[in-house]
Symmetry: C2
Subunit: 172 residues, 2 copies
């Protein structure tokens, strides 16, 4: 029996959106915890797991960049540039909302055949070259989960009552 | 132009193996750091980001379970059961090695058509049902990265000089 073949449109794009939706949910629990306990929410937004790691805000910004960059590169279009000036939970939620809106606006027809296309870009000092498939598999998903899980870990380390099911999101 | 279609054999299985290889590399940096600084390595193996989170050893064990469970379920075979008794870096490395060996031993022909197959199992108290594709996308990869990134975060929080490139591994 033949199965519908996987494509990055049907595998990667929903996977990315799901990580962002769950990250939004985890951040909402962080904000609620600050309210309940009287902690200044900015203390959570600026928290880090190590002095030379990025803050919670930085983790969300990099997750956003990875997500919108992936949809844009695979479609051969430009991603919107966001200012990295988020300072509270509401602004981080707005960043995630705008990121998801951009991804939802991408014409998936433009991703047709992207699995085998060459994807080249500069990541800081590093010139990187992938196929669409290796970009999704070896760069986008690891990067996105790295930042989303680190955001989760920052909140969890600071007492926010989140569990792995918050990270995984609703199943079925 | 038609492109070779993606399958879970060619997308998920290498993605899983890559996370495990990079996790092994990050753990090796943790062990080296303990040696250089004179920290008791067991302090790192037993470290947590929060008192009610799993230790570094627990994170590696759950990453291993997620990885071998995925290869086994998609192939319709049983995964080997490991004892969760690792207490030092060498034992954690051995667990990762055995996990990768099992995955490499799985006959990928058995994964043919797994993308559309129903995958049902019990995760603690939760009965879960997926297709092969949604299992890979919504459960396996998020779970695996969650534990691997948390292992990274535990070491990074404890001073181990790892960076995101250690987590992502060699590109190209």
């Amino acid at each position: 029996m033949s199965q519908p073949s996987l494509t990055l449109s049907t595998f990667l794009i929903p996977a990315i959106d799901r990580v962002l939706a769950n990250l939004s949910h985890v951040l909402a629990k962080g904000e609620a915890y600050a309210k309940e306990t009287g902690i200044d929410p900015v203390q959570l937004v600026q928290a880090r797991l190590a002095p030379d790691m990025m803050t919670l805000a930085g983790q969300v910004q990099r997750a956003s960049d990875t997500a919108k960059g992936a949809a844009a590169r695979l479609a051969g279009i430009d991603a919107p540039s966001f200012a990295d000036d988020e300072q509270d939970f509401a602004q981080l939620q707005d960043r995630i909302r705008r990121t998801r809106e951009f991804i939802a606006s991408v014409d998936l027809a433009k991703l047709e055949g992207c699995e085998g296309r060459v994807i080249s870009f500069q990541a800081g000092p590093y010139p990187l070259t992938f196929t669409g498939t290796s970009y999704a598999r070896d760069f986008v998903l690891p990067n996105l989960h790295f930042h989303a899980t680190t955001a989760y870990g920052i909140l969890r380390h600071n007492g926010v009552p989140v569990g792995k099911l918050d990270y995984l999101g609703p199943i079925n």
